[in-house]
């Protein structure tokens, strides 16, 4: 990867990154809309899909792609730079929103201006909030990787929407499979089945590093598939 390549890719997602940070700050700190785990997970998945659609949509600009690849740039570094330039601001925005689950970010902010009312005690215990934050963050990473892989294969807008749909289904499948595995293991008494519903439980902490491996695998597949593409 080269810095000019990264900055070129970032120029494309910078507007989206600003919008994501604005939404994250307004939603989590100013309005306290994103203080529930479900809302945070929803924001994370939505961010993943939007960032992936932007970062992986390079094949729709054929002239630009042809020009870039005609320079001294490998296809692997091109795809990787697009992947990370989308992933990083997405992860930062989601991480910022996740902070509110286990730290009183919004309360501390509003505590500068008022004494009560806007300052609302969080419902979750810090450990539980941390568990949900990990779930949202790693889940968003996985959703982003899958969506990037699927969208990077498309050349038309209509195809991109279908790819996003398929990517959403594929992204949900892995946590569901993991959940099913926990249930099966729980039925044999190997793990505590009742804690499978709780992302803060130790079993789910196995999923998080595994999802990183899956992210890397998705990137490698995307690079490999792009190598075979005739631009």
């Amino acid at each position: 990867m080269k810095w000019p390549l990264l900055s070129l890719a970032y120029a494309e997602v910078s507007g989206l990154a600003q919008a994501a940070f604005a939404a994250a700050f307004a939603g989590s700190v100013l309005l306290q809309l994103l203080d529930k785990p479900e809302a945070v997970v929803l924001f994370a998945v939505a961010s993943a899909v939007v960032f992936a659609a932007t970062a992986a949509g390079f094949r729709r600009k054929r002239g630009e792609l042809e020009f870039i690849l005609s320079r001294n740039i490998s296809r692997a570094s091109f795809v990787s730079s697009r992947f990370f330039v989308g992933l990083l601001p997405m992860a930062l925005a989601v991480a910022f929103v996740c902070l509110n689950l286990f730290l009183p970010v919004s309360d501390s902010f509003w505590g500068l201006f008022v004494e009560s009312g806007f300052v609302d005690t969080p419902d979750l215990a810090p450990s539980e909030g941390l568990g949900w934050a990990m779930f949202a963050l790693f889940g968003a990473g996985w959703a982003y990787s899958v969506a990037f892989l699927f969208v990077s294969r498309t050349t038309e807008a209509s195809g991109m929407f279908l790819a996003l749909l398929a990517a959403s289904a594929a992204a949900v499948t892995v946590p569901l499979l993991f959940f099913a595995m926990l249930s099966v293991l729980g039925s044999f008494g190997l793990v505590q089945a009742e804690t499978a519903y709780d992302p803060a439980s130790p079993q789910w902490f196995v999923f998080y590093p595994a999802s990183l491996l899956l992210d890397a695998l998705a990137l490698l597949v995307a690079i490999r598939l792009f190598r075979e593409v005739d631009v």
């Binding site: 600003q18 919008a19 940070f21 604005a22 700050f25 307004a26 100013l30 309005l31 306290q32 809309l33 919004s106 509003w110 201006f113 008022v114 004494e115 009560s116 009312g117 806007f118 300052v119 609302d120 005690t121």
Partner: protein, 421 residues
Amino acid sequence: MSLYLSFVAIALAGVIGLVFSRNARQRILAVGGLSLAAVALLVLLSWAGAYDPVSYRSEFAAYGFAVPEPDEVPAMPEAYSLVLAVGEMDSQREKWFFKDLGEIPAYREEVVQPSLLPDKPPSIERIYKNGIQRTITLSEFSVSLRLGWNDEGTEFLKVEPMKNVSYYLRPFGSYNGVFPAPDDHFAATRLFMSGMISPADGSMFGMPKGRTAFIVVQPAGEFATQSVTVRELFSTLKPLQNPYVNANNVESFEQARRLLIRGLSFPKRENGVIELLGLLPPIAASLLVLIGLGVFMALSRNLPLALVAGLFVALVSLCGVSKSVFESDVRDLCSERGKIYSPVAVVSSPLWADTATEKLLQCARAGGMAKWAEMSVEEYHPAPTRARISACRTSNLMGTDVHNRTVCFVEKNVILVKWSL
């Protein structure tokens, strides 16, 4: 401080908008947005804070109650008249009025004795009290009231809330003292107390509104009447004095008023930005939108920044105006000019609980010792309430703050506990 901050934020937004504007169109937008935000903030400031404790008024309606001589009332009256006494208190006034609920018979006639002899008609037996009941629906107060005598002839009064009551409503019941003894003019039994947050002129988040009611039961008949208000009722006529410790009888006007203030002190108010924004009256919400829109226009070159800055300035303006309203409310709190509602207005301010507590503490200290009200501890969550009242007592202060949730405050020798759920 936050009021000045909102002015500073608006000015800053304008300066940033002007400095970073690329062309004349953006500069016009920046100046227009800045003006719009500043004007909307000033209008919001002038609109808010209309509550004035000095202009607070009291209204006491009169009702003609029977005042029979002791020898005029039979030992077993054939009917009792029912009069509802209602007290309401809000940011504008304290109002007491009566409502006639009709009568309840004390006997019924039944053909229960068939004749044993063929030529003699069956006898009609008059049965007093047993099984006579009356149900009255008070839909305007969201309660239904049932009173009378059960099958064994024991008197009772039961108040039940209607379904889906969204505000604080505490009904009472009683199994003695509902009907007056022969030498009493009347018996008064408390029915309920309630509290809610309702919109008020110039108030940012609404003001508490409290209601209570008790029922006045008198022997019915052709007796001389005297027109009295609730304030005079207990001194002019002789109320039933119930010997039971936990009876629900009302024996003085102060007792009725205390019940009213207790209901007033318990309205449930939400915490959180969105929840509190939902309580804003339309005019305040519109002005806040205009402030946000003005800042958004001023910074429209960068839309994400403009969105965040617009929201931020609008919310800080809300905090600032709320502080201004609060300071207006506490102005006469400790003085004689402050009326009975003032402590409630102060303590109900959602954004300034700490200052409200401190202010009430100052008033309490300045006012000398006050006796504790007989505060019932069987509210929604008895154990925490009891613990907090105990903590208030232990601290030997007339007002204190326990875990930022409880405020004990003084009102004319009565200490109330406001408990923020």
